[in-house]
Subunit: 308 residues, 2 copies
C-alpha cells in the first residue's frame, strides 16, 4: 500500500548524504511516495539549518499531505526551538491522520507535543539510521514500520533480561490497563523537566533509552526523575537499550544493572528491561502519548494499544 | 592562625592516595590541624563507601569541632544520598561557624543545604585537586582559602573575556546589590531542577562551571534553566571556567562563546564571563547562599559579600 512519507530535518545536519539517499531509495523501493523537505540537507553549524529554518521545516511537514513525517536523523537541535513550534498546527495534522516518527533528539518534540496538546507521535526509526544503513534495514523495525503505515500495529512484545527478572517486582504476572505511554531518550527527556514541555503524567508507563551515557549519569538522571516525584506517579518504568557507554576501572563493579537494582529499591512499581527500542537496529515503534495496556508474564512483556 | 580542618569523602572514592597525603601534609605545613575522617579513604564501587558510610561521614564532619569541613574530592555520589542528609544538623554546624568547602559533585550538597535551610557553604577547592597537586598549590586559591580561614575574605574580583564584553549587556557599568549568590557545577545543579534540593532563588546571581561537557550539552542545560523560568528570575548569570571538552568537525563553528551569545538573546540580564572558578587550579572561594553585591565596570567584575 503506497504511503506518502515526508522527510525533514528538525535536529542535526545530515553529514552522511549517502545514508540519506539510501534511506529515500529504500522507502521508494518499498512502494512509498517520498517527499523530501527543501531544507532536509541544509547545514548551519551542527544544525540542519538555523532555528528558523528547522522550525519552518517542521511546520511544512505538518502542513503537507503526508501520511508520515519522518525525521532524517537526530543529533541536537529540537530542545532550543521548542518555544517556536506551533503545537496546534502539529496537533491538527495528527488529527488528520499524520504520524510523526523519530527517535533520540526527537524525544523533545514528542514530549512537548504531548505536554502541549496530548496528541500522539511515534517513537521509531529515523531515515538515515533506520532505512539508510549500508545493507538491509532491520527486519523487525521495517515490519513494525509497515504495520504502522497500514494501520495494523497493535502492540510491541519482547523478552526481558533473565538476570533482572529474578530480582524484579515484575517477575510475577502483571496487568496494567489504561496507562499513558511516554518517554524516549532519557537525557533529552530529563532536560525538559521543570519546563512547559515536560508532560505531567500520572498513570504512565515510562520507557527510556540512551546512548553514550555512563551508568552513573543514567543514575543521576533517574535520581532527578525520582526526587521530582515523576517516577512515583508512574505505573511502570520500562528500560529499553542503553548503548555505547564505557565502564572504567574506577567503577569497580558499578554498572547499569546495579543502577536498575538501586532504582527498584527506591520505587514500588515494576521496572522492566530489554524493550527493543533505542540506538539499535532492531527496534519497535511505540505511540508516545497513547493509552496502552501492559502485561507481563515472567520474562515476557507486551505493550498493547490495540484496545484503545 | 591554626585552624581545625576536617577532611571527609562524600562523593567518589579517592584513588590517588598520594595526592590525598600531599594535600593533608600541605594543610599541616600551613599550620593547620587536620582531622581525617575514618572513611575518607574507603571505597565501594566508584564511591567513597556505600551510601550509609558517606552519609555518616557528612554527619561526623558536621558534628566535629572543625572550623572547616573539606571534601577530599568530587566525582559522583552526593545526588543519590540527598534525601538522607540531616540538613538541620548541617545548618546548626554552619551556625556554630563551620565552613563546608568543596566543588563539582559538592554542588548537589551546597544547593540542597541552601534549598532546605538557607545556610551558606563555600564553593572552593577539594583537598586532592587543590592542595594535593604534585608541586605547589595555586597561589590565588591558597590565598583565598586562607582569607576564608582568618575571616578576611570579602569578595572576588576578576577580568571578563574581551570578546564577550563587546556584545554583552554587561559592557556598561553595573551595580547589583543584595542578591543571593548560588550555583556551581552546571550538570550537577541542573540535575536538581524540579526536586526539593533545587533552591528557589528570585534575586540571584547564578554562577556556573563545568568540565568535560560539550557546548551543545551546556546549551541544552541552559535551555532547561531558561524554559523552567529559573534564569529570568535571576539578576545576573556568571560563567566560570568550562574545561576539558572537545569540539568536533560536525560542530562547524558551533562553540561555547556562541552559546553565551545565544543565551544573551534569550534573557534580559547580564551574562558575565571568565569567573576564576571551576575545574582549574586558579580559583576563588565563593559563598553559596550568601547575600552579595555585584559590580561591573567594562571587563572588571566584583562579587562582594563584605557588606553583608
Amino acid at each position: 500500500m503506497t504511503k506518502h512519507i515526508y522527510v525533514y530535518s528538525p535536529s542535526g545536519a545530515v553529514r552522511d548524504k549517502a545514508a540519506f539517499k539510501r534511506g529515500v531509495a529504500r522507502l521508494r523501493a518499498l512502494g512509498h511516495e517520498v517527499e523530501v523537505d527543501q531544507d532536509a540537507l541544509t547545514s548551519y553549524q551542527r544544525f540542519a539549518g538555523d532555528d528558523a529554518t528547522r522550525l519552518a521545516a517542521i511546520h511544512r511537514a505538518a502542513a503537507s499531505k503526508a501520511d508520515v513525517a519522518l525525521i532524517s536523523r537526530g543529533g541536537y537541535g529540537l530542545t532550543r526551538i521548542l518555544p517556536g513550534i506551533q503545537y496546534k498546527k502539529v496537533a491538527k495534522a495528527i488529527e488528520r491522520g499524520m504520524m510523526f516518527v523519530g527517535i533520540s533528539d526527537f524525544t523533545a518534540f514528542q514530549n512537548a507535543v504531548m505536554a502541549q496538546t496530548g496528541a500522539v507521535t511515534w517513537a521509531g526509526p529515523a531515515l538515515c539510521e533506520g532505512f539508510g544503513v549500508n545493507g538491509e534495514p532491520d527486519d523487525i523495525m521495517e515490519a513494525c514500520f509497515n504495520d504502522l503505515l497500514v494501520g495494523q500495529g497493535e502492540g510491541a512484545g519482547w523478552r526481558q533480561h533473565r538476570e533482572h527478572v529474578a530480582v524484579a517486582s515484575a517477575s510475577t504476572a502483571l496487568t496494567l490497563n489504561n496507562c499513558s505511554l511516554w518517554g524516549g531518550n532519557l537525557t533529552v527527556l530529563t532536560s525538559l523537566l521543570g519546563t512547559p514541555y515536560f508532560p505531567e503524567i500520572k498513570r504512565g508507563i515510562l520507557f527510556l533509552e540512551d546512548v553514550g551515557e555512563h551508568p552513573y549519569r543514567i543514575e543521576r538522571m533517574l535520581t532527578q526523575l525520582l526526587f521530582s516525584g515523576v517516577l512515583t506517579r508512574q505505573k511502570a518504568v520500562v528500560f529499553g537499550q542503553f548503548t555505547e557507554f564505557k565502564l572504567v576501572s574506577h567503577d569497580r563493579g558499578f554498572k547499569l544493572s546495579g543502577v536498575m537494582d538501586w532504582l527498584r529499591k527506591q520505587i514500588n512499581i515494576p521496572v522492566l528491561t530489554n524493550l527493543p527500542y533505542g540506538h539499535v537496529a532492531t527496534k519497535v515503534l511505540l505511540p508516545v502519548g497513547a493509552t496502552v495496556d501492559l502485561t507481563v508474564d515472567g520474562r515476557d512483556a507486551l505493550i498493547f494499544w490495540g484496545n484503545h
